[in-house]
Amino acid sequence: MRLSVCLALLAAGCAFALDVDSLPVWNPDYLVRGNAPLYPSDTTDVSRSKLETHGYKTMQVTVGDGGTQVDQEMRLSIQGFLTDDVYVDALLSDVDRKAGDQTTATLQEVDQIYFRVESPHFLLHLGDFTWHDDSMGLFGFERSTLGAMVGARAGYSEVRGAVGTDEVERYSITFNGVRGQREGYSLGTGGNYLSVVPGSEKVWLNGVELVRGKDYVVNYAGGLLDFKGSLVPGNDDEIRVDYDAYDEDNVYTMYAAKAKYRHPNVHMDVSGFRLENDVDRLKHNSWTDDDYRMLKKDDGSEFVRDDSLGQLVRPTRTDRMGARLRVQGDHRFYADLETAMSRKDSNTVSHKVDGPEDRAFRWYVTSDSSYGLRKFPLAISVYGNYIGEEFGSSEFVGTDRDWNSYKLVDEWDLDSSGISGNLRHDELALRMRLWDNLFSTVKWGYRRADGEEWNSSRAAVGFMHDARLVHSELELVRVASVQDLERTRYQATANAEYRQGLVRPFGEMDFRYTESDSIGRKGEPLYEVGYGRSLGGIALVDDGWNVREALGTKLAKKRERLAADGEWEDSLVTYVWQQSADANWRYLQLNHMLQYEYSKLEEEGDQDAWVGELNANFGNRNECINGSVAYKLGMTEEQTYVSVYKAVAPGTGDVRYDSLTGVFIEGVDNGNFVYEGKGRNDSVGAVLASNSAFNADLEFRPASAFGIRHGFLRDIVLGGSFGSEGEDTTGHHLYFPPVTSSGLKEITSGTLSWEGRLEWAHPRGITASYSPGADYEKTLSSYSYFQETFWHEGSLGYQMTENHYVGANGRLETVDLTALQVLNWKIRDGSLRYRYSFLDGFHVEPGVRYRYGDGHDSYGDEFDADLKEGSLRVGYDRDDKVNAFVQFAAVQMESGGDAIPYQMMSGYGEGRTYRLEASLSLDLNKNVSVACHYVLRFGDAEENIFQKLSSEARAYF
């Protein structure tokens, strides 16, 4: 095309000759803004990509008396379409890199990084990613790793492959619930601290996989599991959690691939992975030469290091591969066939050590897989699997969890720990449609080891009625198993539920009768066991709200078989009451859950367990009343959270440790620590604790409540808040957190605080407020710590004109502290200030303050001190963009040489202190802001001249 145009141009002899007369005439007025003639802009130069980079960068520098502290953080995210169908997503996040070497880092050193390009036909992912493979029934694989993943897709086929390296270890734990404990299940062994890879966990409750965020949450830093909603596992509920946790001494390399073909009638999957320890890196980073020699010589026998170092873990390799075929015809015939193999090398360094290797198969064939059996009222299906003994079905579990321990006990009377040999399971099932929505199922299944060391057969007949309004099921089961004992169980289960309407009753029950018989063994007491469980209730459901009430029982009785005086004895009696309510209305948002369980156990006697949670918000700030209430009750293994202070370069922090009282004091000039957040108090260890918390906040405006238009009451707001939290590890049950200080003293740890508020604001510019309050705190630490603070605070203000303001503050505070020392003191503090604003943003503010404190210690030694302060502040504020001030204060403190608590005189020493504080915060534009803060202290009360400069720059883009 271009060629032809050029040829045409040449042939026509088009020489370029400028017709100067047709040029526009220059007019110097064009240079005046807005006068320039408009020409179309050069669009090629201003075209912008649809890909956008966003993120932030912050840099904080604090220069203190003894050193400097630099903190940097950067996060960058790139997202958008490269072309119409190529999508890019990338992220880089880096924290705490030193200023000097910020330009480069190796891939491992960067906190999080990935780059992903995706189109309908291909995928490339570099950096951090999670490989997720759940295409197989016999095994599954999920791993968070750092590496590369590629994928291609065409037609019905898709292929993906990945290589990655990580320093995580896969854990799988199974435990039972604790009655009354909904939160704080420790995932580590022995309650030690764990760093779980975020998002790597899978949780099953009684073999049912739970949904992250909805059914449970995991506290990844620490490894604790909290159940949510109305899920409260009890003693007979089995919880299984698989997760990855960071482990620096375990470098793994992962190779994984999967392919799938998805024809409407044929689904094919092939997938596999290899997970092995990266011997080169371990040799380089973790192992000593001796370790390596020892690993090479390993012959599978005892493997203990000579020195006192920790256990040396053998480098391993696991290979798994599987293939699966699913075919369907006529939307009813269906077959699912799968095979898998597993091979493990227990020490990849040593030639003398090999590992287990085995295969597994699984099949499912049915004549009608449709739910309603619409084409033919009868369906036959065959299900079965064979799992080799060395296959290792408990690791890397797939979607078909046929041999999971809960199912084995609950349905087959088999104890998973006693199961050995090659596993076989066969099942034949018949499903019939008897009536329009009425179905019946007849099933017979048989599980055994190859050599019949144990077996179990299960026959069941079931009926199901599934209509739009009601769903009900009934099933009769007989299970006969031979393991340690020979057992026969007869079971009936039923459930029914209304699915529509305002009132929706529901109920379920499960009755079992089990006989056990010895297999020729003498001396074993043989029992008949009867077990019954039922739960019934009612749910009210409407737009925006629902209420659910349920009552349940669990009863177990047993008697010795063949005994002459065989009497039925109670072995377990449990009653459960569950209540939940949700409402989302305009003036009230409520979320409530309460569960009570009473149980009488043969061994443990009577037990009560309560779990509850309530969160409510009512009203809003424009209404006469608004507030919130929150209440929580339960048991937890979660250790108490304590404030964590990070040591920084001396003088650069704002928290200091007062050795006299043994407490950390926040908000000081010359600190050696900074507050880092709340952390778990690991020194205490994980113990089951009873825990309860209550918080309430209320605000009341009489003017809107009673329609008052005039007078004092018109301008008044009354308010108050109350907060309390308690925890007890001594076996005492807390149903409500302590409300008095003596109540707080009786439990292990907790806090209690309350505050009242009375505010008056007259339209003429006069304001007054009064608030009494108290704080009580008891912490669990190596020494007993209890602090009581009680205060009254009042303030008065008068905005005389637009530019003149005068205000006064008074505070009376009593502190009783029992820590390293026992100290009681009282503070009276009063201040007065005047503010003059001028020149659109500037202000001058002189002020005076007087503070007097006196107290005594446990030996009766008294101390007192007073403080006089005069200050002048000059400041400038503009449109929230510039905020600057300089404040100079002269402080005279007299204590007569007594040792006083640091807080009592706001951290000032005996004598005279001059303090200069300057601050500037500036928003350069909508993306960049800088702030600077400087403190200078000198005078005869100070040992040295103290200076601190901290600056911070923040950029968002």
Binding site: F16, D45, V63, T106
Partner: protein, 482 residues
């Protein structure tokens, strides 16, 4: 009727933007025509007959077409007309007709000559008008040259000070034979400043970084660059300042200095270098710059000669053109323990559009210290590693007496603000003792650059010599531009 300015744009676009793909097309066309004409009926120009006023120069120029195929004179005509267009006669026309006897009748209408008026700018350039005129490279009073106009537009675009918002247009003076080149160049955000400085009184250590790049300070074409950092075992600080057109001449005065301190070896030996240099640079034509510097360091004197040729199409994410820099430094008057030496260094980059948004970049650099057996300090050697040299190495990872590398990169540029590239960089360097001979170095990786509003983001990931990808380098730069 197409507007004159639009025809001007068409011509400039034909000449420049399309790069080599388009520029070779006319030659191909001529070749094709020549082949076609040879293959068919052999029409040839027998002689030339001139009409009207013309010069011997014109006759000499066109004489070459005698005996050539009939169409060949068109190419010569364009050349001649182009000559006049670039020498003030912007309205020059050459008309011709070929009769059956093969006689070419030519008539040249040269028209009146025009001179340039001072360059003007319609957009807000943030630059003083007289500075803008100087930067444009177009001198008032000189004969109008359309190629200079095009070169000047490219020059302004690659300075970095401006962003072109509309095509350049010509205006005429109503009373005199003057033509105004009128640009639409908006001030671009390319300056940046970032800094941090801390001092610990406890161990008396300064720590920090400074990165200030101020271009076109207050619209006066003065540039100030300051860079420095303290890292583990090394400190670096360098700065340069350019005062343009000193004393009204075409020479720019440049002052620059450098401070380097490095700890090396097992015994943490410290080596330090402080250099101050003063020099002049000047532009020759639109693309060349030369510079001469004289300097002092704590252990000698140095003089250097620098040359650069830049024909990139723009400053931010160029798509076509060259950049070649050469530098020769002679360091003399050294203490007895050290030798005088010559340090030579050159680098080049060539951008070439491939297809659509794909662009290729070839680059290479080489440097050496001569004589090769001269005794020099560690600091006198080249510092390798980082974005400017071997990307797969850590920043300033090693020192070398001589090195060279070439790089091939394929870039994908979206719009004018985003670029994604893959690069392969083979190279060689002389390792420090006890190493000897040449060490091979291979780097390869991916890069990403985006300019968005007042931000520029640059990330690259580079690996070297087949090392584990976990040890690959992630380099990142984030700049706030103003």
């Amino acid at each position: 009727m197409i507007d004159v300015n639009e025809r001007l744009q068409m011509r400039m676009a034909r000449d420049s933007r399309a790069g080599w793909t388009l520029s070779v097309l006319p030659f191909l066309a001529v070749l094709l025509l020549a082949v076609l004409s040879h293959a068919g009926d052999k029409c040839r120009i027998a002689s030339i007959a001139w009409e009207g006023e013309h010069s011997e120069f014109d006759e000499a120029q066109m004489a070459g077409v005698v005996g050539k195929p009939c169409e060949a004179w068109l190419v010569m005509r364009d050349k001649l007309v182009g000559y006049y267009e670039n020498h003030g006669f912007v309205g020059a026309k050459l008309e011709g007709s070929l009769d059956s006897a093969g006689i070419l009748n030519l008539e040249l209408q040269r028209g009146v000559s025009y001179v340039w008026a001072g360059a003007e700018n319609l957009d807000s350039s943030g630059t003083k008008p007289e500075v803008f005129r100087k930067l444009s490279g177009i001198e008032a009073g000189e004969p109008v040259s359309l190629s200079d106009l095009e070169r000047s537009e490219r020059k302004l675009s690659r300075l970095g000070y401006f962003e072109k918002t509309a095509p350049t247009r010509l205006f005429r003076d109503p009373v005199r034979n003057r033509i105004f080149p009128v640009y639409s160049m908006r001030k671009a955000s390319v300056s940046q400043a970032e800094g941090m400085l801390t001092y610990s009184s406890e161990d008396g250590v300064w720590d920090g970084l400074v990165d200030v790049n101020l271009y076109n300070i207050a619209g006066t074409a003065r540039d100030l660059i300051l860079e420095g950092y303290t890292g583990d075992g090394s400190r670096h600080m360098s700065g340069s300042y350019k005062e343009p057109w000193v004393l009204g001449t075409n020479w720019n005065l440049v002052v620059r200095g450098r401070f380097d301190e490095e700890m090396y070896g097992d015994d943490d030996a410290v080596e330090r270098e402080i250099v101050g240099e003063l020099g002049v640079t000047r532009e020759i034509g639109f693309d060349f710059t030369v510079g001469v510097f004289l300097g002092l360091s704590e252990d000698g004197k140095l003089s250097s000669f620098e040359m650069s040729y830049v024909s990139l199409d723009r400053f931010v994410l160029p798509r076509s053109g060259w950049r070649i820099d050469g530098n020769l430094t002679w360091k003399m008057d050294r203490p007895d323990s050290l030798d005088n030496f010559l340090k030579a260094h050159a680098r080049m980059v060539k951008y070439m559009p491939l297809y659509g948004n794909f662009i290729s970049r070839f680059s290479g650099a080489a440097g050496g210290v001569f004589p090769t057996d001269a005794t020099v300090k560690r600091m006198d050697l080249f510092s390798l590693g980082g974005l400017d040299s071997f990307k797969g190495m850590q920043y300033h990872m090693l020192r070398s007496r001589s090195y060279g590398f070439s790089e091939l990169a394929v870039l994908w540029q979206d719009g004018y603000d985003l670029s994604i590239e893959v690069f392969y960089q083979p190279g060689l360097y002389r390792p420090m003792p006890p190493g000897h001979g040449w060490a091979r170095e291979q780097g390869y990786g991916l890069g990403f650059t985006q300019y968005r509003g007042n931000w520029s983001v640059n990330i690259y990931y580079a690996m070297r010599n087949g090392e584990n990808y976990l040890d690959g380098i992630v380099g990142f730069g984030l700049k706030t531009l103003f």
